[in-house]
């Protein structure tokens, strides 16, 4: 059996001449939170729809829990909870009535499933308020309740924090983290909000124009992120010469008359500063810098960063 809960091979979706997703191969490990990061229109939702069988791929395969999705939908889909795009419910019914319809379809007889799902997302059980009267945040919470109601092993959540207020975002983030840590659920979450993925995901897939440009664990990405020292001194060229001659440092650049960047992380900064001061140079700033996920995103997508 495959080690991956979700595995796609060469997944492609074309709408006429337009390619929405191209040759996508993602790998989601069990008990991990996988963040699919990309700009709006990058192909995240189309990918998730193909993972759920809502959209047929033009080519490529989807395997879930080690089995191909096609032909095994009845066995696989009940093990998944999903939230795709905007929350979809019947506006003439209350939240509880809406969940009851889906609970019945899933064979969940006891009302405790609905009750506990609503409790998790802080929505009242048997409230009289109709779905049409819900705020966007309440609708999103109800959609999350629907996704988790049947205690699925895998959650596929497309932009789950859309419409939530800052407190709601923090609550959902904590809740998702806890679901993964406490119950070992596997979670695929998509977002165009980079900070959310950075805070939540264990593994990250960066998708751009339908192409998966990077897939790494967050630690690996962080390790890949450039770290460097930057000194602001009275004479950057002289400071660079000192580091080369006295400490044997090669990997550095003089950025301007006063700024020196050193990429050799073996440098002892205290030693370097005392060396500069001893040589009569003035040191006004010394910092260790680290590229953020956004910097990395810009680098791999070759464009501007996202929110």
């Amino acid at each position: 059996m495959s080690d991956y809960v979700i595995e796609t091979r060469g997944l492609t979706k074309q709408y006429g001449a337009q390619t929405s997703v191209s040759d996508l191969s993602i790998h989601v490990r069990q008990g991990r939170i996988y963040g699919l990061l990309g700009r709006n229109g990058a192909g995240k939702t189309t990918t998730m729809r193909m993972l759920l069988g809502l959209t047929d791929p033009s080519s490529g395969t989807v395997s879930l829990f080690g089995k191909p999705l096609r032909g095994n939908e009845k066995k696989i889909l009940p093990r998944i909870g999903s939230l795709i795009e905007s929350p979809g419910f019947y506006p003439n019914l209350t939240g509880t009535e809406n969940l009851r319809i889906f609970a019945d379809l899933r064979g969940l007889k006891s009302p405790k499933y609905i009750k506990s799902a609503l409790e998790v997302v802080n929505l009242p059980y048997r409230d009289k308020k109709l779905f049409s009267q819900y705020s966007l945040g309440m609708k999103q919470r109800l959609a999350i309740a629907l996704a988790i109601m049947h205690n699925p092993e895998l959650l596929i959540l497309d932009e789950p924090i859309n419409g939530l207020d800052p407190i709601g975002i923090a609550e959902v983030r904590d809740f998702i983290r806890e679901l993964c840590d406490a119950t070992g659920k596997t979670i695929l979450i998509s977002s165009h909000i980079l900070s959310e993925i950075a805070l939540l995901a264990d593994d990250v897939g960066i998708i751009d124009h339908g192409v998966l440009v990077e897939e790494e664990s967050l630690e690996e990405l962080e390790a890949k992120n450039g770290k460097y020292f930057r000194f602001t001194v009275s004479n950057a060229a002289a400071a660079g010469r000192l580091l080369y001659e006295r400490l044997g440092i090669h990997d550095m650049t003089v950025d301007s008359a006063n700024e020196l960047t050193v990429r050799d992380l073996h440098l002892d900064t205290a030693q370097a500063i005392s060396l500069f001061v001893g040589a009569g140079l003035t040191v006004s700033d010394a910092h260790l810098y680290e590229d953020t996920l956004e910097d990395y995103f810009k680098k791999v997508t070759g464009g501007e960063g996202i929110a």
């Binding site: 729809r49 759920l52 069988g53 809502l54 959209t55 047929d56 939908e73 009845k74 889909l77 009940p78 998944i80 999903s82 795709i84 795009e85 905007s86 929350p87 979809g88 419910f89 019947y90 506006p91 003439n92 019914l93 009535e97 009851r100 319809i101 889906f102 019945d104 379809l105 899933r106 064979g107 109709l130 049409s132 629907l146």
Partner: protein, 268 residues
């Protein structure tokens, strides 16, 4: 299937679109009796009584009011899953799409029966209010049964239209108008093959409606041909059901937003 049916009934709570059927079927006896009143006095039926009113209601229901209402309601039941963006939730349960459509048809057929019973009630009320004679328990049983049976068979005839126009987004209103036109056409078939085999005529014939007396049919209709016409409708319904598959756009709300911008009305 039971859970699908239960869910479909639950979804009908507080649905204003049901008012279409309620109002239309309440109008039927009023319109039928009113059409008597607008005739010149010498043209009026001097023996107009409950039996005549019931027969007029059976005719009016099948010709106009039920096709319009049932296709609108049944089509909307299907269409709403896309406009409310709930189809994705159903398909990922997973619910079989043909079964889902089948559940909606069964609910629509149950509604046609309920509308039939309701139509009997409003006909009795209307006849009593205008002081028609000839009411008895035998009349109520015989004519009432015919109203309900005709409502059911008319519902069966509407099924293909419900399936076709319910699955084309926003087309259920157009579908109900087209079905209204198709129902209205029974007026033109007074003899030959179509008198019996035309599905809407077949619906009336199978309900025991006297086509010669009320439609001015020039010949006695054939029950066998009517059965064949109804069988053709059922085969067509089954074929559409089995060939139906969910739209690839199920759950894609982008198109819905565009339509909202055009000021399209949505029934709740």
């Amino acid at each position: 299937m039971w859970s699908i049916l239960k869910g479909e009934w639950r979804k009908l709570r507080r649905c204003q679109i049901l008012l279409v059927g309620i109002v239309a079927l309440a109008l039927c006896p009023v319109v039928q009796y009113g059409s008597q009143l607008i005739l010149n006095p010498e043209m009026r039926d001097p023996n107009y009584n409950f039996v005549t009113l019931f027969s007029n209601v059976v005719w009016g229901n099948t010709q106009m009011f039920l096709p319009l209402s049932l296709v609108m309601i049944g089509g909307w039941l299907i269409d709403r899953e896309n406009t409310n963006d709930t189809m994705k939730n159903l398909l990922t349960v997973p619910v079989s799409y043909p079964k889902l459509l089948g559940g909606k048809l069964i609910v629509t057929m149950s509604l046609s029966l309920l509308f039939g019973i309701y139509s009997v009630a409003v006909t009795v009320l209307a006849g009593w209010l205008v002081g028609l004679g000839g009411f008895s328990s035998t009349v109520l049983l015989q004519q009432g049964t015919q109203v309900i049976a005709a409502a059911f068979t008319t519902g069966l005839v509407c099924m293909p239209m419900i399936l076709i126009f319910g699955q084309i987004r926003g087309a259920y209103l157009g579908g109900s108008l087209l079905t209204f036109f198709l129902g209205y056409c029974i007026l033109f078939f007074k003899g030959g093959f179509l008198l019996s085999a035309y599905p809407f005529s077949a619906a009336l014939i199978l309900a025991g409606f006297d086509m010669q007396e009320y439609n001015g049919a020039t010949q006695a209709p054939s029950v066998l041909l009517a059965l064949a016409g109804m069988a053709a409708v059922l085969v067509l319904t089954m074929a559409i059901l089995l060939l139906s598959h969910p739209s690839q756009k199920a759950g894609n709300s982008k198109r819905k937003k565009v339509k909202k911008g055009r000021g399209r009305r949505r029934a709740r």
